[in-house]
């Protein structure tokens, strides 16, 4: 089902801020680009102006603006503009052996840590209370924080199984400190694994001002240009949340870039189940899509040197791109180093000293770049050998992300995709869609609203089928609560992981539901 109205997708990347307009049938209308600016908002404004300038359509018919942005991850990496966070851990008498901020890089801890507190509370894996929540202590902590901190992170033991104590603590803190203080709750952000979940929650809290600035900047720019669209942000998992939710959960946007890129590519290629190969200048990202969503990794990942466990797209990165150096001394090698953005000066075809993969593509007549005559002395057999090597590397990557022998199409995109000659890859058919230079912006523009349930259950008692039905219904209810239209909202992914050493066939179940935006 499609939504009435036009939509605008904006992707703030490291280099460019891209934008697209899609019509009510999600067909491509226009695209624009401008350089990303340090304040984010200016780049967004310029791209929006370029998109709308000279567009004959009705600006008031733009119903939604979708924003995908990497500025939150940059703020963490550069330790810039982060808020200080008070950290509450509800779990005493457990967990004190490893206090909050353990194993953080000192440079990040020093700018984020305000104080941490352990408070009696938390639950066991089966949901029983470890200790009743110490509400009196929460009031005293709130009094000590009043006027001194704007962001608080709350993590309770086994909150993904029972979130009661985190929610109760939030009520106390919001009551005592007022709406000016934001409270991040761990069960809304990440999953089992206390330290990693707490880390993600602290980072989320620290991003409060950073996300406010970007979202308010976007809003202001949109209004100034006469847009009345609803603002939505792309999440790591490829679904959307509204601006109000994005202000509360900025950490859930940090790796939306690769997700939007591969989702956009699969959409452009017209295939929901596919393998997307995005060949850039220095690297190639390869991801698998099922039902239009990338497979996700729940393995601990480092964000700015901090171990976290919220789910991020499982994308394989190869050191291969249009700027990869080709060496022939001591056997033929391609990469891993690349001339990157210096391709126009460094490459042989452009009169530079370095043989790159792009030069080989030029010599083989696959693309126009520089002057082909400069490559006359490049032996044909060598060019063919490089071509074979590039193909082997890509096929090896495709085989790695492929999970079955099923014949999936390969969607080949990115500025470096000209390197790859015609024909199948890893015996799979290849699709090369148009407009791939704005795949990210398209990826966020076509996104739906989604929500997840991730918990530990026992199949004893109600049984597997009934338990899974209950969780499916819960995930759909969450998606609807997050803004999805009830009709057509469906379960997109379901994953069961049996757990060892727990009684009663304990299983960790993750269900993801998504649906079109409600009107």
């Amino acid at each position: 089902m499609k939504d009435a109205g036009y939509r605008i997708g904006i992707d703030v990347g490291g280099t460019n801020t891209d934008g697209v307009i899609l019509d009510p049938l999600q067909r491509f209308v226009r695209k624009a680009k401008s350089p990303t600016t340090p304040d984010v908002a200016t780049g967004i404004r310029v791209t929006l102006e370029r998109l709308l300038d000279g567009w004959s359509g009705d600006r008031r018919a733009v119903r939604y603006c979708m924003l995908g942005t990497t500025h939150c991850i940059n703020a963490i990496l550069e330790r810039r503009g982060l808020d200080r966070v008070a950290v509450l851990r509800l779990g005493t008498p457990s967990t004190d052996a490893v206090p909050p901020f353990s194993d953080w890089p000192a440079s990040l801890r020093d700018v984020v840590k305000f104080r941490s507190f352990s408070v009696a509370g938390g639950h066991e894996f089966h949901g029983r209370v470890i200790r009743p929540l110490d509400v009196g202590r929460l009031h005293r902590i709130a009094a000590s924080l009043a006027g001194r901190v704007r962001a608080i992170a709350v993590t309770s033991v086994f909150s993904p199984v029972n979130s009661e104590h985190e929610r109760a603590a939030a009520r106390v803190l919001r009551h005592d400190l007022g709406a000016g203080v934001s409270v991040s709750l761990s069960h809304e952000i990440a999953t089992i694994g206390l330290l990693e979940r707490e880390n993600a929650t602290i980072l989320n809290a620290a991003l409060r001002s950073v996300s406010e600035r970007a979202i308010l900047g976007f809003r202001r720019a949109a209004r100034a240009l006469g847009l009345r669209a609803r603002l939505l942000l792309g999440q790591n998992d490829g679904t959307l949340m509204d601006a109000a939710a994005a202000l509360r959960y900025p950490i859930l946007t940090v790796s939306s870039g690769p997700t939007n890129s591969i989702r956009g590519a699969s959409f452009l290629g017209g295939v929901a189940d596919s393998i997307v190969v995005d060949v850039g200048g220095t690297s190639t990202d390869i991801g698998l899509l099922k039902g239009g969503f990338p497979l996700q990794s729940a393995r601990p990942s480092l964000i700015g040197g901090v171990r976290t466990n919220f789910r991020i797209p499982d994308v394989l990165s190869l050191a291969l791109g249009g700027g990869s150096r080709v060496r022939t001394d001591g056997g033929l090698t391609v990469g891993p180093d690349s001339v990157g953005y210096r391709l126009p000066q460094e490459a042989r075809a452009a009169g530079g000293p370095t043989l790159t993969t792009t030069d080989v593509a030029v010599a083989l007549g696959r693309c126009d770049f520089g002057d082909r005559r400069r490559l006359r002395d490049l032996p044909r057999p060598l060019a063919r050998a490089v071509d074979r090597r590039v193909r082997e590397m890509l096929e090896e990557g495709i085989e790695t992300v492929r999970i079955s022998s099923q014949e999936l199409p390969v969607v080949l995109v990115g500025g470096g995709s000209v390197l790859v000659g015609a024909g199948r890859l890893a015996s799979l058919p290849v699709v090369r869609p148009e407009h791939f230079d704005v795949a990210n912006a398209i990826g966020v523009a076509i996104a739906e609203v989604g929500a997840e349930v991730d918990t530990i259950v026992s199949y004893e008692g109600a049984g597997r089928a009934a338990t899974l039905d209950r969780l499916r219904a819960a995930a759909i209810a969450r998606a609807v609560a997050a803004g999805a239209r009830r009709a057509g909202t469906r379960v997109a992914q379901l994953e069961e992981i049996p757990l060892s050493y727990l009684p009663g066939n304990s299983v960790r179940v993750r269900v993801k539901a998504c649906g079109a935006l409600a009107a």
Binding site: A97, E124, T400
Partner: protein, 361 residues
């Protein structure tokens, strides 16, 4: 004399131990943080060779029992292992000379380091498995009829349970498992109290130093950008028996254990062949067709084909490229008694154990 284990040694042990964990044993990351806090507070821990234990010295194992998933969520408060240990000393009416690891593969390689630091006693360079196994009785002291009892269990709430006696170590496993679940799914335990004389006979020597050496070689290989797989192979004197890609993965929970199997399609020299590995927390049997390539109690470890990082059975996923490392187990396990305790038949496979010899494929 041996080494004094500091924070860096702990890092190396935590890096090498999962290779001996053969897919199970739990991720030592959090155990490492718990032990590191104790080392930072109390200073380094002497690592004493097994052979140096005096005859009449009392040694007691310190370990975590229960679900790794619970351990990473309900992190200990740091006093549980010490309380379990003290309660057992109190019951025995004697102070321990040293503590030891029951299981050098995985999480329980690091736990006793923290306990030793907090108690101010040495750690014995030995363990009860030389690898990881799923059950309490699957330790080399069982081969010498050394009971796990008396044993104690402690939780974070302050509860301590004492199990003075059980008719055999299988009963200990049953009782302790039930208590652990009541305590919230994980508990700290003190068990296998024994004399230095018994320990020298019954424990597997050098396991902690072995884990540390694997970690050291792996880290050096990363630093030197040399082949990490080859570094691990040499450190373990093992064999890289197969390289392939995960093409099928099957997991289920049975009797509290994650059972399943993984299928690998061969790559490189193994192209065209298929390896099937059955696991029950740990990897148990590796087969090509009907031919058994290796089986428990020999060590079967899956390593990430690029980084050499060991992969747990819970961490396996489709498409992963892995190398299968096989390492000969301690000779104690290759005896009739050893095989009846931890051989393929105990785990329900009608397979005759054939010792894995280096170079055999």
């Amino acid at each position: 004399m041996g080494l004094r284990l500091g924070v860096d040694d702990l890092e190396l042990i935590a890096l090498g131990a999962p290779v001996l964990g053969t897919g199970g044993g739990g991720d030592p990351y959090l155990g490492k943080l718990v032990a590191r806090a104790a080392l930072e507070r109390h200073g380094p821990v002497p690592l004493v060779p097994l052979a140096s234990l005096p005859d009449r010295a009392l040694v007691i194992a310190s370990a975590m029992m229960g679900a790794p998933t619970v351990f990473v969520e309900k992190i200990p408060n740091g006093s549980e292992a010490v309380r379990a240990f003290r309660a057992l000393e109190e019951f025995l009416g004697r102070k321990a000379y040293a503590t030891f690891s029951i299981e050098a593969g995985g999480l329980n390689s690091t736990i006793p380091i923290g306990t030793a630091a907090a108690l101010g006693i040495p750690l014995v360079d030995a363990d009860g498995m030389g690898r990881a196994f799923p059950e309490v009785q699957m330790v080399s002291p069982s081969l010498y009829d050394i009971p796990a009892t008396p044993m104690t269990l402690a939780d974070e709430k302050g509860n301590v349970a004492l199990l003075p006696r059980a008719v055999d170590n299988l009963w200990v496993e049953r009782f302790a498992r039930t208590l652990t679940v009541d305590m919230g799914g994980s508990a700290m335990i003190a068990l296998y109290p024994m004399s230095g004389r018994s320990a020298r006979r019954a424990l597997i020597p050098g396991s902690i130093g072995f884990a540390r050496r694997i970690g050291q070689r792996l880290r050096s290989a990363w630093a030197a950008k040399s082949d990490p797989l080859e570094a691990i192979r040499r450190a373990t004197r093992g064999s890289l028996a197969f390289r392939g890609r995960v093409t099928d993965l099957n997991r289920r929970t049975e009797g509290g254990f994650a059972r399943g199997s993984v299928r690998l399609a061969g790559t490189g020299a193994d192209h065209g062949r298929e390896l099937l590995v059955d696991f029950q927390n740990e990897n148990l049997i590796a087969r090509i067709g009907r031919r058994v390539l290796a089986s428990v109690p020999d060590l079967i470890s899956m390593l990430d084909a690029e980084t050499g990082t060991p992969i747990t059975t819970e961490g396996l996923r489709f498409g992963q490229r892995v190398a299968v490392l096989v390492v000969a187990c301690d000779p104690k396990w290759r005896t009739e008694k050893g095989l009846s305790l931890v051989g393929p038949r105990y785990f329900g496979y009608p397979v005759r154990y054939r010792p894995f010899a280096r170079g055999r494929r």
